[in-house]
Amino acid sequence: MNIRKVKIIYFKEILETLRDRRTLISTILIPIILFPVLMFGMGAVVVMMMKKTEAEATRIALIGGEYASSFVSTLLEGDDFQKVEVKDFEFALKEKEIHAAIEFSSGFEEKLTLGENSEATIYYDGAELRSSIAKEKLSGELKDYQDSLVAERLRERNIEKSILHPIEVKAENLAPKEKMEGFMLSMFLPYVIVILAMVGAMYPAIDLTAGEKERGTLETILVTPVSRLDIATGKFLTVLTASLITIVLSTASMSLTASLGFARMGDLGSEQISFAIKPLSIILLLLLMLPLAALFSSALLSVSLFAKSYKEAQSYVSPLMFVVILPAMVSFIPGIELNWGLAFVPIVNISLASREVLLGTFRWEFIALIFVSTFIYASFSIFVTKRLFEKEGVLFRT
């Protein structure tokens, strides 16, 4: 290998890649803006919608309301509920004229006054968010009414209310703060970073192989006094750089977004969580991603080198995304933990190890094993790429 020529090719490829809008978007822009947009944008929209829905008066139809006149009058006192007269409540629910309907059994309050039991049925549409909320609100109101009745009946019999709760159940979360913070991120950070490592390498890999074939520049470089190995190495290093940049940017963006995002969630009422991943976790995470990025880069180069055109390469690479997405999703499955077998399964091992690194529960021997095994897979993949660059049938496929 001629290091000088590899360097010349590498710097030229980097320069060209930096001038390619598609690559800039997928390698730099997306990893930076994805998390803030997801967290603040989507989050804010969801919170806004929820608040709006909750604030809006719930439209209800009453069936047999005359049997529960005092409950109904309390219900309609505030702005929370609005009574709607309908002929057919099922049709009205379907047409969204009402959010829910409530049916009181005959002699509802009368029976209750006599110390007997009554029945109330709430009709709602479980596939409609507002209808489900209406059901919750109505259930809440009924429960409050029931509690007051129970309290009254107990009082009449001179019984303490605490008899209903002989055991007081308490739960205390003993997880260290750091683990708690890591837990939130450990579910989806490994998954997203693995996917982005792939996305970041995708466009440069296609552009530097199938794209060059399409534009006829591959033949131009093949007639220069540079070995195929040097060309392949220069291109590989360029794609690897793109992938690593994506990984670093997305990790940084995600950590920052998360720290700001959790602080905001704190403002919204839940427990205030200050967010800080240990620097060691970040370093280990990036270290684990290094051989994975190399594996992705060489695999993508090989696949897209085989294609004749940019479009053909895209159609080969898209199914490859699923090959990455599915094993990467393992970080979402709570029960699965790293073991000696899984440590050898590519992508799955990185995804699980990253989760444990973020949780602070990792074992060094696994980290070392995963690093080495992924490194071996990457080396094999690089070897395949090199061989493909030497094959006339691949370079001049017609």
Binding site: K12, E16, R19
Partner: protein
């Protein structure tokens, strides 16, 4: 400067079976002369030139270019040749100057020498007005000039030009013809393929007619005329290939 011995290239195609794209070709191109390869589309011109420029490996036979073996000394061969074809594209996102310098560096030129050579070439091909502009934004004629500059940056002893005027307008193809003539005068060995007969007639010192991978006739225009009893290269070509 270019000598081939029974050079053969066989491709295997699933549908068509074995294809002898280049079949026992023996040619000899000398310095200071233009050797024209005349053939129909698919005759084997491009494959032969790709083998000589070491992009493809022959199935059998051998060849020497500028004294180096194309199989065992491929890197040396590539240092000595300038290869230009309609398939050798340019990087759209590099400027004219970046492109030419890049190929100079890949040819092992040191920075001082490269700077000097780039100045020389940009003056010579009158490319200074677009040296800082990206290739993708340039006209076909300007791009072709950059391609020639790229081919010429290492001052190659041997030029392998595969249909260099195909699809170009009159002005641009004239400038290429002019460039070939100049190179010939400076003692370079030029292998030039075309299917435009008047170009061959105007330029070539030696003409080889290639058909279905085989060289059917070789000689100067006069020799071919005497052999066939025909004056026009068009007629000679049709008679030789028998179609």
């Amino acid at each position: 400067m270019i000598v081939t011995t029974n050079l053969t290239k066989i491709f295997h195609d699933k549908k068509r079976g074995e294809i002898r794209a280049v079949d026992s070709v023996n040619i000899e191109c000398k310095p200071g002369r233009v050797y024209g390869l005349l053939g129909l589309n698919g005759a084997g011109k491009t494959t032969l030139m790709r083998i000589l420029s070491t992009i493809l490996k022959p199935t059998s036979g051998s060849a020497k270019v500028a004294g180096y073996d194309i199989i065992t000394e491929a890197e040396k061969v590539k240092e000595k040749i300038g290869f230009l074809s309609s398939d050798t594209g340019l990087y759209q996102r590099l400027t004219a100057e970046e492109t030419v310098s890049y190929f100079g560096r890949l040819n092992g030129m040191e920075q001082n020498m490269l700077t000097q050579r780039v100045e020389e070439i940009f003056d010579r091909f009158d490319m200074n007005q677009f040296r800082g502009r990206r290739v993708g934004k340039l006209s076909t004629g300007m791009k072709q000039k950059i391609s020639i500059a790229r081919t010429f940056i290492n001052d190659p002893e041997v030029l392998i030009l595969d249909e260099p005027t195909i699809g170009l307008d009159v002005v641009t193809s004239r400038s290429i013809i002019h460039f070939i003539k100049e190179s010939k005068q400076s003692g370079k060995c030029i292998l030039f393929s075309t299917h435009v007969m008047w170009e061959a007639q105007k330029l070539c010192d030696d003409i080889a007619i290639i058909h279905k991978g085989k060289i059917l006739e070789v000689g100067t225009l006069e020799q071919l005329q005497a052999k066939t009893g025909l004056a026009d290269l068009d007629d000679i070509f049709i008679k030789v290939v028998g179609e």
